[in-house]
């Protein structure tokens, strides 16, 4: 069966510090991978998605970047965090286009 791992679960970082959130998927090959951000009790905003190694599409201009160095690894990064980067970050995978997404348990990021 397929599993998705996302870490850390919570993170408190000072303004101006770098960020690296990692997500890995097991049990499937060449998945579509996604990073979303969610405000409290609200819908999810798509940040990045990837349909293959090295292929990254950015949905909104922001202080963040994403990379996919391996088939089942997706990394969300920032060189210098802003207060506005605080939020709940969710990684997800899908088997292919138009397939349901399977989410990790998220990372709660607080920038102080």
């Amino acid at each position: 069966s397929q599993t998705i791992h996302q870490w850390p679960a919570t993170l408190v970082q000072p303004v101006g510090s770098p960020l690296s959130l990692e997500c890995t998927v097991e049990g499937t090959s060449n998945p579509n991978l996604y990073w979303y951000r969610q405000a409290a009790g609200r819908g999810l905003q798509l940040l990045f998605y990837s349909v293959g190694i090295g292929q990254i599409s950015s949905e909104v201009p922001q202080n963040l970047s994403a990379s996919r160095p391996q088939d089942r690894q997706f990394i969300l990064s920032s060189k210098k965090l802003l207060l506005s980067d605080s939020g709940f970050y969710l990684c997800a995978w899908s088997r292919d286009n138009n397939s349901p997404l399977h989410f990790g348990n998220g990372t709660r990021l607080t920038v102080t």
Binding site: N32, G41, R42, G43, L44, Y49, N97, L101, F103
Partner: protein, 111 residues
């Protein structure tokens, strides 16, 4: 601009009541999905609807996709405290590699 608007945003009801959540858009979607999310966790898929006019039932939950594939509804019969959570609709457009989420409906069912 939010492509998928959900209403109501918040809903607090008593156990045993019925409720309907709406998901509306001016855009056409190739398919639409409903997810439920609990605090501190990722959303979990409930159902996918693909055909305009399609109705799917999942125990006490009934999902409908609009004829024009622009809107959807979720009806819960005899709500229970275990139904409490954030309900999210989400739709694929075009090539199907971008899933756009609705604004969310926070449901609380009390004893």
């Amino acid at each position: 601009t939010q492509l998928l608007e959900q209403s109501p945003q918040f809903l607090s009801i008593q156990e045993g009541e019925n409720l309907t959540v709406y998901c509306n858009s001016s855009s056409v979607f190739s398919s639409l999905q409903w997810y439920r999310q609990e605090p501190g966790e990722g959303p979990v898929l409930l159902v996918t609807v693909v055909t305009g006019g399609e109705v799917k039932k999942l125990k006490r939950l009934t999902f409908q996709f609009g004829d024009a594939r622009k809107d959807s509804s979720l009806h819960i019969t005899a709500a229970q405290p275990g139904d409490t959570g954030l309900y999210l609709c989400a739709g694929f457009r075009g090539g199907g590699n971008k899933l756009t989420f609705g604004t969310g409906t926070q449901l609380k069912v009390e004893l």
